[in-house]
Symmetry: C2
């Protein structure tokens, strides 16, 4: 039986391991926290730091294949493992490009993939020369994750808040829609493209409210989005699964925002909504099976379950019974013991025939349900 | 977080634990074989004999709730655990009735639930007085499982093959269809009935070929089957999930064959075909959540993947790539290292709009796919 190791033991690892149990495979997880969401769902849990060279190298030497569930891993160790014959998904060369947002932006530019105009800044001081370009988005090169390391600088008065590290300063695109296109590629020319997902943001809070799949976009926009996602994946030249986040502007132009070289939050609905979920798909790639079917069985909405503001401690799920009584909901709680504001604690998928019904029900769930302590 | 223990670590435990990872729960498994399909998917694996009183009792004392994935467990220990406040699904009283096929038959008779006419035999010698009733089905009282402990005695010449133990001798019903109705009940008057599943047998080999859901039966037959399944479940007076197997005869009469007080092979299609799978449903019951929605999203067929005749050893899956390429298949392999003839190694679910297409495709899969060594 093949041995596959996952770097990181969060909810993505947890869902990967749920899907792994459909196949003959021996699973390993490397993660510092022995109580992480994935720790108890693998054959072999190894406690250790995914950012440490020796730890990752020795972990990888035990297995046939390594994958990641988070980008902040030791890429040097993965490169050595790859050189020594371990299969790595995604390839370390692709991970290195994506992991650093400066490199990622330069990659899009190099491959002529439409992305918001930008300048590279070495440090906070370098920002002074670009104050005229504000408001703009600043993204730190290394270490950003899950909303951290990205902010808007509104004007010269925000100079002191600028990151004092290599970063990207990016023109604000007048966004009409945010999309995600997930692509699986086996490295032998075969690809599977999931239907585009649309991110719906709260009009006032500017936070992701819920996702809808398929996205409500004209066919031409979809074609552009898919073509651009494929350009990214071909440019990265690595087998694996990739979530390409895109903006659609008021004119209908499409821009690549960012890419994740792994299973992604924007694909969680595929567990119930698609024939082959993003997690199933990655196992197929890693185990050398044919690609799965990315088509969706039914339209879906997805809400993230995050810790409510003002609550920190042992998690309680207010309104859970109401949600579980709904005929078309699928609740995924990640088993995290403690909540804090904004922490991802789970997600809820709705499936249905009708977009309007899904949007309405997503609103109901948001009112009924919250994670408190 | 609640602690739930499972007695047995086979494929049913494996699929239960896949579903458990959607909820906050600490899981325990008791099983002799540390390499069993479920061993690596729980928080705490305990190696031990599910038939041993002390082992089961001490295992159960660690948790809030105990369930089973096989009937051959120590019921005395479960009774003591129940008396000491541990929740047990199903109740030991129900398990005691079902576990012994003599008791199970007497239960149906007592509750006036239609079942094939029968006599109880104390031993092989007692068979002599009933040779005139052959051909008939003989079922051993204790210890039968998965086809073992059941056979047909064709005539007096089969006397020596009769079980020399307490058994049921049952009239052969002229079976037109075999059905399974799965019912979940929470013990507070709420029930969820899954759509009936139809077992399709090979016309020559008389082995289960595949299952179809929903069953192709007249509405009146479905009503009878559901009513009888509910009679069984009410009679057992226990919360839990129950698979009631039924015969339909040529006249359209419905007879209860057997009941399983747990998740069951005839419900595996519910993972992809229903809103709430049988595994999800049992977690909802055990964790005190509302019942799930047993309705099906799409019609389905299910094939068991069993070890091919003539092969014993490390399992290999011939034709697996062909199956994985099909747009509507869901492959579940249970991760068992070795195969032998007839061993359950996995199952394949197909979903589709059309019964005829599903039947055709099930036939194709049977030709393409086998487990060899």
């Amino acid at each position: 039986m093949q041995k596959v190791g996952i770097l990181g033991g969060g909810q993505l690892g947890r869902m990967l391991l749920q899907a792994a149990a459909n196949y003959p495979v021996i699973t390993y997880v490397l993660e510092n926290d022995p109580h992480c969401p994935a720790a108890h769902l693998c054959h072999h849990f190894v406690q250790g730091d995914i950012r440490d060279y020796d730890t990752v190298y020795h972990f990888g030497k035990q297995v046939d294949t390594v994958t990641i569930e988070i980008e902040s891993v030791n890429v040097d160790a993965l490169e050595r493992l790859e050189a020594e014959g371990v299969k790595v998904y995604p390839k370390p060369s692709a991970l290195r490009i994506i992991k650093n947002k400066v490199q990622q932006k330069l990659f899009y530019k190099d491959k002529e993939i439409p992305t918001a105009p930008f300048v590279i800044l070495e440090n906070r001081e370098a920002l002074r020369a670009h104050l005229g370009e504000l408001p703009a988005v600043q993204k730190i090169g290394e270490g950003g994750y899950d909303g951290r390391g990205v902010h808007i600088l509104h004007g010269p008065e925000d100079l002191e808040q600028g990151f004092d590290a290599p970063s990207v300063l990016e023109k604000l695109i007048p966004i009409k829609k945010e999309l995600s296109v997930i692509v699986a590629t086996n490295g032998h020319g075969e690809n599977a493209i999931y239907p585009a997902t649309e991110m719906v943001f709260h009009p006032e809070l500017n936070l992701l409210d819920y996702q809808l799949c398929p996205a409500d976009i004209p066919r031409e926009t979809l074609w552009k989005a898919e073509a651009m996602a494929m350009m990214v994946v071909k440019g990265l030249a690595s087998p694996g699964i990739f979530a390409v986040e895109l903006f659609v502007d008021a004119r209908g132009d499409v821009w690549v925002n960012e890419t994740a070289p792994r299973v992604h939050n924007s694909g969680h609905h595929t567990i119930e909504a698609a024939y082959s979920s993003q997690f199933d798909m990655l196992w197929r790639l890693m185990l050398g099976y044919p690609l799965g079917n990315p088509e969706i069985r039914q339209p879906s909405a997805l809400l993230n379950v995050v810790g409510a503001e003002g609550f920190e401690g042992d998690a309680r799920y207010e309104g859970l019974d109401d949600i579980l009584k709904m005929a078309n909901t699928f609740v995924h709680l990640y088993g995290k013991k403690t909540t804090k504001p904004g922490r991802k604690m789970g997600h809820i998928t709705l499936i249905g025939k009708d977009r309007q019904e899904l949007v309405y029900q997503a609103g109901v769930i948001k009112k009924l349900f919250r994670v408190i302590a």
